[in-house]
């Protein structure tokens, strides 16, 4: 007799939990960290269709998960969180998506810019909400352009005495900006409810979901979305105090948002993709000054709230591994990309569960022997004594389904702890 989906769910959840708590599970768990558009490829639909059609997107995700049977799946709402029609309605400038700026068969790509200018720190620090609404959003959301004509939002502090200002909100172009927000919001609401019912369905099929919230390192909020990489790098030399002040301002906001999102979703995992703290992107001294302190505070606050932070250490973190040992044991799921696997195990083995590290190049182009050989090495080295979850290095968009199957089957067979 086969196991029921409920039994399989418990078994998989237990396996993942053991690995995160640095115990030895029955076998090395395997999951698909950021399936991204791989399900579209597997199901034979264009990435553009997946971006615009929730039904097709989640049918593709379901087909993929049911076929490959991972021990956990990456929350698709964290990969594709804003559907194409919402992006189009809002005229979002910060991303190019399938069929809109990039090929219908390619994944979306972020468009970084100096959306916040070098001399705007004071405005940001003085009133982040007002700065965001009247200065920042009109630059990144096309339909929000007219919002910059509104008076400072804090005028409403005057209550009754501030009400005459409401007349600014009825200008036709301002009203149409709010309409686009409403329309885009409805599309996102529809998408979110499709994500939720997909998760429920997967639960009934026996598959645990990775995470209930997504957030960024405070430095990355400033670098990715506001100042851009170049702008923030120059700020580190020219106005370091303002950078640190802005990070202090951002930290409690994003911590609170992440905690609220996990409460709403009921899933304690918090995915934190990290970008600008990796080897090469700054010196160790800059990492110590600008990147690590606020990231550490974020992770500790999430742990204090009973959550499981899942930082994705994209790129190479080999030279920064010692910092990560400052985190409490068995409470973090660390997703790694090109960090040296043996060094990571040696330094972090007692601190956090290690996941990822399977090269996408192999899952896209290599021979089955080569795939198994590399997976074996990861299981032998990083999987030794538990605390390891097999996963891909990064987003799986272009992986070859047959090669993925080879990898999954091998891991499930060879990864059994005896």
């Amino acid at each position: 007799m086969g196991k029921t989906p409920e039994e399989l769910f418990k078994e998989r959840e237990h396996r993942i939990k053991d690995a995160i708590q640095l115990k030895v599970p029955d076998r090395v768990p395997i999951w698909f960290q950021d399936l991204s558009f791989f399900p579209a490829k597997y199901a034979g639909i264009a990435f553009e269709e997946a971006m615009y059609d929730d039904d097709k997107l989640f049918a593709a995700y379901k087909k993929t998960i049911v076929h490959f049977e991972p021990d956990m799946y990456f929350n698709p709402g964290h990969a594709i969180h804003t559907p194409g029609d919402a992006l189009e309605t809002l005229d979002c400038k910060q991303v190019k998506w399938p069929g809109h700026g990039v090929s219908p068969h390619h994944t979306f790509q972020y468009v970084e810019g100096e959306y916040m200018k070098a001399d705007e720190y004071d405005a940001f620090l003085d009133d982040p909400s007002d700065y965001t609404i009247r200065t920042y959003l009109p630059r990144v959301i096309g339909t929000f352009e007219p919002i910059k004509t509104l008076p400072p939002i804090k005028v409403f502090l005057l209550g009754y005495f501030g009400l005459p200002v409401s007349s600014a909100f009825v200008l036709p172009e301002v009203a149409s900006a709010f309409e686009s927000f409403h329309k885009g919001g409805l599309a996102i609401l529809r998408h979110n409810s499709a994500v939720a019912s997909f998760q429920k369905e997967m639960r009934d099929f026996g598959f645990p979901c990775s995470s209930g919230a997504i957030t960024l390192a405070p430095f990355d909020v400033l670098s990715d979305t506001l100042r851009g990489m170049r702008g923030l790098m120059l700020d580190m030399y020219r106005q370091p105090d303002k950078v640190l002040a802005a990070i202090d301002k951002i930290l409690p906001t994003i911590t609170g948002l992440a905690i609220a999102a996990t409460k709403a979703s009921g899933n304690p995992g918090v995915f934190i993709p990290l970008h600008r703290g990796a080897d090469g992107f700054m010196s160790l001294k800059q990492f110590e000054t600008f990147y690590w302190p606020s990231l550490k505070k974020l992770i500790l606050a999430l742990i204090d709230a009973g959550l499981t932070p899942c930082p994705f250490f994209e790129g190479n973190y080999t030279s920064r591994l010692e910092y990560l040992t400052e985190l409490p044991k068995g409470r973090v799921l660390g997703l790694f990309d090109s960090t040296d696997p043996a060094r990571a195990k040696e330094i972090l083995g007692d601190t956090m569960c290690i996941s990822g590290m399977m090269p996408l190049s192999l899952l896209q182009t290599a021979s089955p022997e080569h795939i198994k050989e590399y997976a074996k090495k990861l299981i032998d080295v990083v999987g030794k004594g538990g605390g390891f979850i097999m996963g891909p290095r990064s987003a799986m968009d272009e992986c070859d389904p047959e090669r993925v199957k080879v990898w999954v089957d091998f891991t499930k067979g060879y990864g059994v702890y005896r």
Binding site: L234, Y237, G280, F281, T365
Partner: protein
């Protein structure tokens, strides 16, 4: 002595000092070309420090910003174009479909400060644009960059396009970026994979015969 000042101020990322020296020298009616050459030497030192792990990407960005200001200051007084002797020509670009350029620009910076003439085609570069530029410049080295995994296919197509016009034997092709590794080199038919900008410089120097025994380890 003054030339050393500008070189070391730039190499040491002393922005206001470097700009002040350049301004003073320009006001002192010095040959603008000499000022630019000193700044360029400073950039070479920045490149060396990056190669040895003393400097990182922010230092490259900052030094580039300082150089840009010096160049803008000096430019109106320049009477002739700089004639710098170059080791070889490199055509560089992020391949079709990929719009990432951080790695691309670091490789550009390092090849440039190491004496190569770099033709940077930017992001989302089609195979035909690579071919056109190789034909136009006669470059003997091609660098294909890509961050996303979709770049593997574009790299392969670019190598094939170069082959199709009969240029495959005339150029050496290196690839790098993101998830690219030696497995991808095999798949695309490129000559080499470089894991970072220093590797790109070593490969380019090797191919142009710059590296001889005992030199440039």
């Amino acid at each position: 002595m003054r030339s050393e000042d500008l070189t070391s101020a730039l190499a040491g990322l002393k922005e206001s000092r470097a700009l002040q020296i350049a301004r003073d020298r320009l006001n002192g009616d010095e040959d603008p070309m000499a000022i630019l050459n000193d700044a360029r030497r400073g950039m070479e030192i920045v490149g060396e420090r990056f190669a040895t792990g003393e400097y990182f990407i922010p230092d490259l960005v900052y030094s580039g910003e300082i150089l840009k200001q010096i160049t803008e200051m000096v430019k109106p007084k320049l009477t002739k174009e700089a004639a710098v002797k170059r080791l070889g020509k490199v055509v560089l670009g992020t391949v079709a479909g990929d719009i990432h350029d951080i790695g691309l620009n670091i490789v550009d910076f390092m090849l440039d400060t190491n004496g190569f003439e770099v033709y940077n085609l930017g992001v989302d570069t089609s195979a035909s644009k690579f071919v056109d530029k190789i034909q136009q410049t006669g470059a003997s080295i091609v660098g294909l960059s890509g961050f996303l995994t979709l770049a593997f296919e574009s790299m392969k197509e670019t190598v094939e396009a170069i082959k199709a016009v009969g240029l495959r034997d005339k150029v050496k092709i290196m690839i790098g970026g993101g998830q690219v590794d030696d497995e991808v080199r095999r798949y695309t038919g490129a000559d080499a994979y470089g894991r970072d900008a220093m590797a790109a410089v070593a490969l380019a120097k090797g191919w142009t015969g710059v590296i001889r025994n005992g030199e440039n380890t």
